[in-house]
Symmetry: C2
Subunit: 317 residues, 2 copies
Amino acid sequence: MKAVFFDGTLKIIDMEIPRRKEHEVLIRISKAGICNTDHEILKGYVPGFTGIPGHEFLGHVQEAENRSLIGRRVTGEINCACGKCDYCAAGLGRHCPDRSVIGIMDHPGAFAEYICIPESTVVEIPEHIPDSRAIFIEPLAAACEILEQIEIPSQSRVLLIGDGKLALLIGLVVSSTGADLTVVGKHENKLSFLEESNIRTVLLTDFVREPYDIVIEASGSSSAFGLAVECTKPRGTIVLKSTCAENLDFNPSGIVVNELMLVGSRCGRFKDARAFIEKGNPRLEKLITKAFPLGRALDAFRESEKKDTIKVILKNE
Amino acid sequence: MKAVFFDGTLKIIDMEIPRRKEHEVLIRISKAGICNTDHEILKGYVPGFTGIPGHEFLGHVQEAENRSLIGRRVTGEINCACGKCDYCAAGLGRHCPDRSVIGIMDHPGAFAEYICIPESTVVEIPEHIPDSRAIFIEPLAAACEILEQIEIPSQSRVLLIGDGKLALLIGLVVSSTGADLTVVGKHENKLSFLEESNIRTVLLTDFVREPYDIVIEASGSSSAFGLAVECTKPRGTIVLKSTCAENLDFNPSGIVVNELMLVGSRCGRFKDARAFIEKGNPRLEKLITKAFPLGRALDAFRESEKKDTIKVILKNE
């Protein structure tokens, strides 16, 4: 099969179709989304990463022990957990110390024609959700995770910093709480997606610093962290949503003096994201800037890095 | 009156006794404690600070509108709040945006013979609490603040990093919750104070990194922040207790990936601290390394910086 492979440089290789192990399913991938984490991996965010990246995907089950799954259109949870530890027992398999993470840690990723994943991580896609929306389930789950971690009261003032792929999804999710949301970003074309959903947006150059109850940092820029601290009310909350290879240089006194609470937030539950799509019918397809066949993955990565690009999809159809 | 004054350099000056404004009391200070924040102020932690530092004190009321206060032994809350804003209404005057802070921001401090403070901030000291314990009410309140902000279940494993003045008080307060506490520090003589209260301590050189539910960073060292992140379980909590002039250089990914919660923690309620002393009778006097007359404040500051020194007191008797 064809696969994208990273071993210090990114390339397309031919390799064997993976063999399904016990309790796994084999999926023929139809679509996969390029995420910022994929770019960060290329920059060294996961030291020593070698293999197939990619963790946002859709496909059809080809082989499975549970034969009712065969032919089904599915995606798969990004974290493959042990199912036995305290975290797994608490429904927090995404923190299982023995987990592998698809396309990130100890599990081949989805920028390929086929993938094997544990049957327990398979999430079916209902027929009425088109591919162009379902492909966002993984990053949308990461956006929904915020609501699983903190309460956003409807009367709260929330600032979201960032207008990238993940930030726009967070904008939709936070807006659904009824909170008074402002999104600050650098790209008019990206912010317009939220404006169309009646979400208040402002360009960073026009942004006036004010105190907010909750600030969500999802820009991945190291300077945004200082902005977040500055714009959070005493006893307010900052949600950190970006994983990046770059270090921050900051003075923690602002956090201590104002007794801020910082909450790191990563992956979420796919079922929450699927429910969010089913309930709200968000027009997520508008976030897809361009689709490339898998064989043109290198072009797709280049396209994905462009300033005005939102989501780039790899197709394998 | 004699007063310690900082205007870029630390000196002892003679100045007028301050005049009591409306709703203020005039206090003759008997004792004042030197805190790490005072040293940080000398290093530039509060840009442009000019005036009398010092915010831990005891004294006797000399003048007051409420005549029943006259002659009473008292201390004063460090934050002088407006009493009218939403924070004040919520009992969070220590976050009042219009507050002044004794010896730190817009209010003369306590390293002097006299001080005027708002009557509303006066906290009386019951007779049975000796000066040598009551002088710790301000830093002890800062230690108690942690319990006001986060829950420490008795079955949780807690790591406290630091063995300075504040850290030792935090050790006593956290230990009172029944949690399984380990304190890591650099100074055997300081840690021995906690050992005498049956609190497990370990020297940093012997410390084995393990995951804890809650990590409290109270060492004021920038390298301790990384240690805290490394020793916190996924979904665990880090309490940041140090204000310092120095910047941190760190990668936030550890916080995001493990979905840690960071809580900045500063001043607490004096009444909680007073109650803690009354209930537990902690032998706080053992923390006093040396006392100096106010006129020898410069020697006292030098003594306070020494490696093995815990608390240095200025006396004005």
